[in-house]
Subunit: 352 residues, 2 copies
DNA sequence: CTGAAAGCGCTTACAG
DNA sequence: CTGAAAGCGCTTACAG
């Protein structure tokens, strides 16, 4: 016998156990179905009833059991982030953005990195999505570009949002980052600084952004009447080491380029290294512009001019699209959110 | 009527639906309880029966429903990673390590970053763990050092493993990283290079590693007969900016230090910046040693000498500890895994 | 607007 | 070593 032995508290629940929907129903003197309606925000509940039930829910500290709901709903309350992007900065910012959107929704984020080149990826992803009965999935590049994975998700009837540099799907399932715009801005910037003999280090063919950034860069130069000479284009792989190799190639050309645009910042730092090893000083002897605006860009010397994508915002926008149906919106009728990259001008590119 | 209309296949399951434990039981001609025993690797099943049931499981492609198991077990198959560490590199490596251990276990990783300074953290973590009925939780620093969170986990009966620079808990719940050893090595290294007037930039007081690294550094110097002068110690906050401020202080002392050890790499890069701005060249005019060995350490110029912690391994080891009971091991009787940092010698610290 | 019954797919507790 | 019954805590489908 405790002080708390009021009729209500007594009827509430056995000690040491979390209250269930039955406890709420009993105390509120309604059926559990009505409690269920209140939990699920059904409009078919009288206002007075809703208020009373909510009061009891608060009083008992009732929290619906996710497993039980999931079992009945035949799906979980988990959002999957499936990625093969190896940049820690990209991954963490994307996760933060997704979590920004998920906050308060009752959904949680399950992370699933994988190797797109492994021959078990597709089967692995199928198992993951099927077992977890995911609420939805977010696919940043280059995972977003793999149609085998998309087929699996469609087959499993799992909602998804793809993030990519160009549109690859219906508006309900896409977030477009328009990488060509950022690259074009980089091109115009270098041209406006007076550079004409310009090099480009591309990303790997597996990443769609490689071609899109390259194309955008060409466009930007073309707007200023400059044509990118194919001899000044080297293939990289988005890694520091590949940037080093490509820079060695480009900087041993005669005449050598006065400026280099790289498909990402990692490779730009490779250019930094080679230039230093060759006794060149940036930006005096060589201008460099990168892409991604990693935290590193503003730590190295000279600070790297780079194109920034609002990665955290992208994660949030993609997740919000996934949440739309929950909020009574039709994802197919939503507008396709787009994102614009922007050039962050620092000290690594100067006028000739 | 299909070609597949054999008795077995017919009895198997309705089309378009995933087979359940009942389907397996029917086809294998056992009770669902026996199927359950096989799934859960109970030893109380005749070998012959087990083989037959497993064959049917494979034949039907049966995958146990996680929500249903979770509802009956009263817990989920999710491991939570709760952290407030802001370094993307640390976070991603830790996640990778945890996933290395989780692979094949049927468990998935739910990430939960948070702000330890927010006044809702503790309540927020309670909600998270309680709602998800987590299988277990992994706490890297400095989350691992928050006793309020530990109290919540104990109260909720949620297994956890803490990762910290010193032991804070029983062997079943700890992974010790011994940061003092790495810092001591840094101290001996600088002393062996002939430095005697040495500066130290510490991390924030909220992080236990700050004091542990500082203490280890003092010990290392002491082993070489050098005492760290308190006037050459500045308080940082593990951020680039705080490194800049602290470096300004230390480098304006007269006489100024010939070497600086920083509590992490971010702050070391702050020292790089200030040294450059003051016209000093590293390592000619100043030796610098960092801690963490970020990817950046081998990108900047000069390459940064730094102490490395095997973060991915740490994640894996912590997760394996969490999985021990699943494998029939008693976590309390397990040995407490320890990790040893190592000094990676590069170009930022040289002999006087 | 509300409710009683049946069911989601597993496991626990109890028998044998 | 195996099984029939009851239960985990919700929702769906059907009535009213």
């Amino acid at each position: 016998m405790t002080d708390d032995d009021t009729p209500t508290a007594r009827a509430a629940t056995k000690p040491g156990k979390r209250p269930t929907i039955n406890d709420v129903a009993r105390v509120a003197e309604v059926s559990k179905k009505t409690v269920s309606r209140v939990i699920n925000q059904s409009p078919f509940v009288r206002e007075e009833t809703r208020v009373r039930v909510n009061a009891v829910i608060a009083e008992l500290g009732f929290v619906p059991d996710l497993q039980a709901r999931g079992l009945a709903f035949r799906r979980s309350f988990l959002v999957g982030l499936i990625y093969d992007n190896p940049s820690p900065n990209y991954v963490v910012n994307m996760q933060q953005g997704v979590l920004d959107a998920l906050r308060g929704s009752g959904l949680e984020l399950v992370v699933h990195p994988c190797l797109r080149t492994a021959d078990t990826v597709v089967a692995d992803i199928r198992t993951f999505v099927e077992r977890q009965k995911l609420f939805g999935v977010i696919l940043p590049p280059s995972m977003s570009e793999d149609e085998r994975v998309i087929d699996v998700l469609r087959d499993l009837d799992c909602p998804y949002v793809r993030i990519a540099s160009v549109s690859l799907d219906g508006p309900g399932a896409m977030l477009v980052t328009n990488d060509h715009l950022g690259a074009a801005e980089a091109g115009r910037h270098l041209a406006d600084l007076g550079h004409t003999r310009i090099g480009f280090i591309s990303g790997p063919a597996l990443f769609r952004s490689s071609a899109v950034r390259g194309g955008g860069f060409r466009e930007g130069l073309a707007e200023r009447g400059i044509t990118l000479d194919d001899r000044y284009v080297a293939a990289g792989a988005y890694t520091f080491e590949s940037g080093v190799e490509a820079a060695k190639t480009l900087l041993s050309l005669d005449p050598r380029p006065t400026a280099i645009f790289t498909g990402n910042d990692e490779m730009a730092l490779g250019v930094f290294k080679v230039a230093r090893d060759m006794g060149m000083e940036i930006p005096r002897d060589l201008s460099v512009v990168g892409y991604d605006d990693l935290p590193m860009a503003s730590r190295v010397w000279p600070n790297l001019t780079s194109v920034r994508l609002p990665i955290r915002d992208m994660g949030r926008m993609a997740a919000e699209k996934l949440l739309a149906p929950m909020r009574g919106l039709d994802p197919a009728k939503l507008d396709q959110p787009e994102v614009r990259p922007s050039l962050v001008i620092r000290d690594s590119a100067k006028a000739l």
